[in-house]
């Protein structure tokens, strides 16, 4: 079995401001093979975007990362600037949420892609890089690519722009693609097209994809494995099927109960179902106590008792469905009750 494309071990990311340090990501370990998609799920502030940035070493000022990140055999956290620049765009690339702001308004579409080509292979002539750009635009399904290459970002529709951003990210065939909410700014039909395109290119290039999303619908249609983050910690990890059908963490179960399902009415035999909200808001990262970060919002914490408040649960192995692979959950409860009991 080949080495995984992405390996993260005990990743901690902390912000320091005004002498106060807060961990936004804590003790995160995960690995991802080529050709597979790992969805990172969580609400705002759960650390999913910061995790993606940490992998590229594109952290904002004041943030520092500890632990170990290996992308395609390269140690990212100990790499120097030169090495990082070589890795960015060729080993690991990124697709952003807002395609309008991810493209420079002063450069035409072709310049963006050609620049990415020439950065990693200076021997390519401008002309050849431009031709690569046209080829790539054609590949991501932009009609009349030879004409589109000369257009400016504001002349494209949102879906077309996101395709161009994908072309820019994938032109050097990265081993790992980090897609940070790639479809959030798009409407639903375009969302489906973009996801299908990403999926198709992933198969073609055999690359690994880290899909950052808060949308369980997107996750369900694109991911192989799912990592659920809560307050910067790994709540649950498992195959898509395990996460959806037998969640082992109350937070995952709560997210599932809060997601609309097309088959819900059939299951309940005509009984009207309500979507459940998870009460409360994520806890502040600064005054995190020693216990489980989710405990204050957890409907099941009283079944465990004091342990939830004084001891942070570590990820432990949970049962899997057949062929399900690794399934981890960080909860003191060994078994969750039926889905509808959770998070009330």
């Amino acid at each position: 079995m080949p080495d995984p494309v992405l390996q993260v071990e005990d990743l901690c990311v902390s912000f320091t401001s005004g002498g106060v340090t807060a961990d936004v990501v804590r003790d995160l370990s995960v690995s991802l093979d080529g050709g597979r998609t790992l969805a990172v799920v969580g609400e705002s502030g759960s650390g999913k975007t910061i995790t993606g940035r940490a992998i590229m070493r594109l952290l904002p000022r004041g943030a520092s990362a500890r632990g170990r990140i290996v992308v395609a055999g390269r140690e990212m956290l100990s790499a120097d600037e030169r090495e990082l620049r070589r890795a960015r765009g060729s080993d690991v690339a990124m697709v952003f949420q807002d395609s309008m702001s991810a493209l420079s308004p002063y450069l035409d579409i072709g310049a963006h892609i050609a620049q990415a080509v020439r950065l990693h292979d200076p021997s390519v002539t401008r002309r050849a890089a431009r031709a690569r750009a046209v080829e790539m635009l054609d590949r991501v399904g932009i009609p009349e690519p030879a004409d589109a290459v000369r257009r400016f970002p504001h002349e494209f529709s949102g879906g077309m722009r996101q395709r161009a951003v994908i072309a820019m990210a994938l032109v050097n065939r990265p081993a790992l693609l980090i897609a940070d909410e790639p479809t959030t700014a798009l409407d639903v039909t375009v969302q489906a097209q973009i996801l299908a395109l990403l999926r198709e290119l992933q198969q073609e290039y055999g690359m690994a994809m880290l899909l950052i999303s808060h949308d369980f619908g997107v996750v369900g249609s694109a991911a192989d494995d799912v990592l659920v983050l809560y307050a910067g910690r790994q709540a649950e990890y498992g195959s898509l099927r395990d996460i959806f059908d037998q969640p082992a963490h109350p937070y995952t179960a709560g997210l599932r109960a809060a997601t609309p399902r097309l088959d819900a009415r059939l299951d309940t035999g005509g009984e009207r179902t309500r979507l459940r909200a998870i009460p409360g808001a994520p806890t502040s990262l600064r005054d995190a106590g020693p216990g489980c970060a989710f405990a204050p919002r957890c409907g099941l914490a009283d079944q465990v008792g004091e342990r939830c408040v004084v001891e942070a649960p570590l990820p432990t192995v949970r049962p899997t469905s057949e062929g399900g692979g690794l399934h981890l959950a960080a909860c003191h409860l060994d078994r969750l009750p039926a889905l509808k009991e959770v998070a009330r």
Partner: protein, 319 residues
């Protein structure tokens, strides 16, 4: 699609040619804007006149120092004739009391005034652009240090300092060059802060992040992602700084600490003409040099505005 097909389909040939065409179209769009062309003309005509001053004065058949007292009214020294003594020999009349040719004084005055102002503006804006871009991109301690230095400069009585320096400059030093350096020294702070703020805002935009995510080195990010956004701002700041410096040079001459001796200067002409305006005896003594200053200031503003509009690709269709 094969590479050859693509290149054929792209049609317009090499990117180098495409770049040239695009540059042509920026110029083309500039020249389609009437206000820009008018502004450029207002700026260029006095500039060329200043550059060719000796030639123009020779064509006129005069020089900037000969006294023509025969053209003055012996009672009070007012020039004889209409419009301050305008004639075929003296295109813009003569200066009261001395009878020096006003056209020669003005074109030589443009030379000193405009070139000192240009020099000071170029120096100060260039320094501001470099410093502003650097603080915006690198931020951190560089930004903090530069910010404090600018604060310090703000708290400084700049004009007093300029006057003091100009008063003690040793006579053997070239006063024009000293003026350029002193004006540039006090002119870079505000532009540097504006450019720095803008560069910082651009640096935080997602496309800069996206460029970083494709592995672009700092220099490339500054050159390709940031400078195009700053170019319009720099042009406008330059156009704004130019008339300011023209008037400061004039003001210093008025105070007697600008250019000295018999070097003609627009500001000196304007201040010398003040009593003749108050008494209404020779309005033209002020109107002719005043019109030239107006042309330069207004032209620089119009041309700067038009250039900024043209350089912004987003307004391409609106023009």
């Amino acid at each position: 699609m094969s590479i050859a097909e693509i290149q054929q389909a792209e049609g317009r040939g090499t990117p180098a040619l495409g770049r040239f065409l695009r540059k042509r179209s920026v110029l083309g769009r500039f020249f389609r804007k009437r206000s820009g062309v008018a502004g450029l003309a207002m700026l260029v005509v006095p500039l060329v006149a200043g550059l060719c001053a000796p030639l123009l004065v020779r064509i006129e058949g005069q020089d900037p120092s000969t006294l023509h007292t025969d053209l003055l009214n012996p009672d009070g020294g007012r020039p004889l004739g209409a419009f301050g003594g305008v004639s075929a020999d003296h295109w813009l009349g003569v200066v009261p009391v001395t009878g020096v040719d006003l056209f020669a004084q003005i074109v030589y005055g443009i030379r000193s005034s405009l070139f000192i102002a240009f020099g000071a503006s170029i120096l100060s804006i260039a320094f501001a652009a470099v410093l502003g871009t650097a603080t915006g991109y690198f931020g951190g301690w560089l930004n903090a240090v530069a910010g404090r230095v600018i604060d310090f400069m703000f708290g400084f009585p700049g004009l007093m300092f300029v006057i003091a320096i100009m008063a003690i400059v040793p006579p053997e030093m070239p006063r024009g060059l000293v003026l350029v350096l002193v004006l540039a020294f006090f002119g870079w702070t505000v532009p540097a802060r504006i450019i720095g703020a803008q560069a910082g805002a651009i640096n935080a935009r997602a496309f800069v992040e996206a460029a970083r995510a494709t592995g672009a080195p700092p220099w490339q990010i500054i050159r390709r992602e940031m400078l195009p956004h700053l170019f319009g701002l720099v042009v406008v700041l330059f156009a704004m700084s130019l008339p300011g410096n023209v008037s400061v040079v004039a003001g210093l001459s008025f105070l007697g600490v600008g250019l000295r001796g018999d070097v003609p200067d627009l500001g000196k002409l304007l201040s010398d003409s003040l009593p003749w305006i108050y008494s209404g005896a020779d309005v033209w003594y002020m109107l002719f040099p005043g019109a030239v200053v107006f042309l330069i200031v207004f032209g620089a503003t119009l041309a700067g505005d038009a250039l900024r509009d043209v350089l912004d690709v987003r307004t391409e269709d609106a023009a």
